[in-house]
Symmetry: none
Subunit: 221 residues, 4 copies
């Protein structure tokens, strides 16, 4: 399954194609420099902040020369975008598989919230980068980020449509606004958690968030 074919790798400038054959040959400590640099970028940007994170710092962390970065990425911005694309792609694939077998939309929504939180909880550096540093960019870059996000938002839309069809969700639901509520709520919760230095457990908030999203704050006895 790949409903998310719109997330393709924009790697025209990459000189070496990461062919399946090519990767099979690589030893463990020889993981492709591309991923090596992305992993270094997550750590370095999380530690320093995007604007205080010089390309040379990423290069040092990745164990490559400054110039090597530019064999794999068009510019500094492209590292950030690629990083997000790469992580988002993995996230969406995992999430799709997790959700696949479930019957109800409500259950799928819970799993979405839970797993969103889990991914961030499992990688604090990544959480800092996506919740804080990724936003420190101009409108142009924000549009690219939104483009990458579309795959995730589509996942939400799918759940909503399924829920409406099987009667779990209100038939008159405005999909776009509901999606914005769901994503906005998850995102705000995650950002607060990061701003509070991850000092409480994020994943355990998922059921309550799920409850709020399904029933709202109203009193329905």
């Amino acid at each position: 399954m790949n409903d998310y074919s719109f997330i393709f790798h924009s790697f025209q400038h990459r000189k070496i194609q990461n062919k399946v054959e090519g990767e099979r040959v690589l030893k463990n400590n020889q993981k492709p420099k591309y991923k090596q640099i992305i992993d270094a970028a997550v750590i370095t940007i999380a530690e320093n902040g995007y604007h205080q994170c010089q390309v040379s710092k990423i290069a040092k962390q990745a164990g490559v020369a400054d110039g090597t970065i530019y064999l794999y990425f068009k510019n500094k911005e492209d590292i950030l975008i690629s990083l997000f694309k790469e992580k988002m792609q993995q996230f969406i694939q995992n999430l799709s598989e997790i959700i696949a077998g479930k019957n109800t939309a409500a259950e799928k929504l819970l799993l979405l919230v839970e797993n969103h939180f889990r991914i961030l909880s499992e990688d604090h550096a990544l959480a800092i980068v996506t919740q804080l540093e990724l936003r420190q960019t101009n409108k142009e870059l924000r549009l690219k980020i939104n483009d990458i996000l579309k795959g995730y938002l589509q996942l939400i839309d799918n759940i909503l449509e399924e829920g409406i069809q099987n009667g779990e969700f209100a038939p008159a639901l405005d999909i776009r606004l509901t999606r914005q509520m769901i994503f906005g709520t998850i995102d705000e919760t995650a950002t607060n958690w990061v701003m509070n230095d991850h000092k409480y457990d994020l994943v355990s908030l998922a059921p309550k968030i799920h409850q709020l999203l399904i029933h709202g704050c109203g009193n329905h006895h």
Copy 2:
């Protein structure tokens, strides 16, 4: 009413007292330089983006010398913070007055969403600055912004507490999470609207958003 006295003006070194008499005398083009610069900053930052907006551009737009900026603001960052503080203070006061006479928490929530959207709709430049440019800052600054936001979030909390007490809202509501849902949803909706170049009417979305926040996406017949 002013529960939000914690939002005070940080401008201690300003020598000119804003006497009522003093202000009455001022011509339109002589409004205090402090506000003059803030207004210029909103326009200039919205047009250029925070990082592309040189202090000299703000000064030119404000009709003052570059150095004059530094008589009223500590540095470029302080302009951004002060701008947000100033606007937020006004917003919270207006909102407090609007909400004051209403009986139900639900009605108050609707007014909050509506007015939040209206403020942004009435000043597209301000919307761009608060939804996009204000975020392009490091964690330290984000903490200051959050501090200023507290007054607004407190307003939400007050509504929620009132709603719980009078039975409108679920008694078991987690105030913090619910506030994050409400703010997250409003914020995400507003940001999407800005990212779409304000091309649809934001205020008219308020009732639907309100409905979602109260009842969630579930089907409650």
Copy 3:
């Protein structure tokens, strides 16, 4: 006596003439702003260094407005020059009187060294300004300083000429070079003392210095 009439006050831009009549009227706490500013400058420049000492700091220390400085001094440089001129003038007058009654050139030289050191010892702030801060200026200003110094150097020359005539000093003495030795030695000694934070007694070095200047480092048994 005033052989040093070449040290006149270059005060063309000073608005109020310090007439004798005018000064007689002044109360103690109303000493002319001119001296008030100079005293403030000595303290402030010594504390902060010439380049870190803003005109506004001097004004604050003197208890006057920034603009007032410019009623008494042409510019910041002029404060430094005037300060040195004022202090040097006093110094030369005092020294002249002290030396006047003495019979031998050697004794006069000793008194010169001693008093030079004593003046600096009695006012550490002044010592810092003359030995360190006054030098942090461009060549043009250094020429003006040298001009003011001429009065002092002339005093040395007079002693030397007298010493040669009465047979105390070597008849073939090169006045200019000897004066440079004397002044250079005193100045170097004083600067070292300031750089060492005045941590030893300067005045008590005078006899040894005097001995060195008269007899040199050679062994004359």
Copy 4:
């Protein structure tokens, strides 16, 4: 001989090893950028004065980009310090070799004065920088300069100690004060020469200065 190993090169971050092979290959116009920049700095600072000498001027004179300066020097101040360190190091080594073979302390002292004057005479730009521009700095920098000077002052001390031991100099000599006389005299003489636009011959003053330092101004028939 190199008793002055305490003057080492502070340029730790320089990546290029000065291999003998490497240097042999270099054409004249390819001399290491470090020295290239220092030479440019001497000329440019002498011409413009330290404070009027923009880093970009030095870069232009050196034929490198502005940024290149900062690959070799920490900041503008570091150029000045390094320049002095570099020249002083050479000077001390040359002087040590020249003095090495001589028998009497008096002869060594004469050579020291002569060569001090000769170095300055041979490079008027360097003379301006060391006698005037180097002094236009704050106390912190002066301390660094003094530190570099220590090597030279030690040379003087060595001569004095030798002179005392072999009976040439007075046994009761205060080394520190005598060193201050010698250095102060040389320095004052040199500064006067620079302030007079090098318009007379400095080196030929050495014997007279030497005579003064050894015998003082007194009349010893």
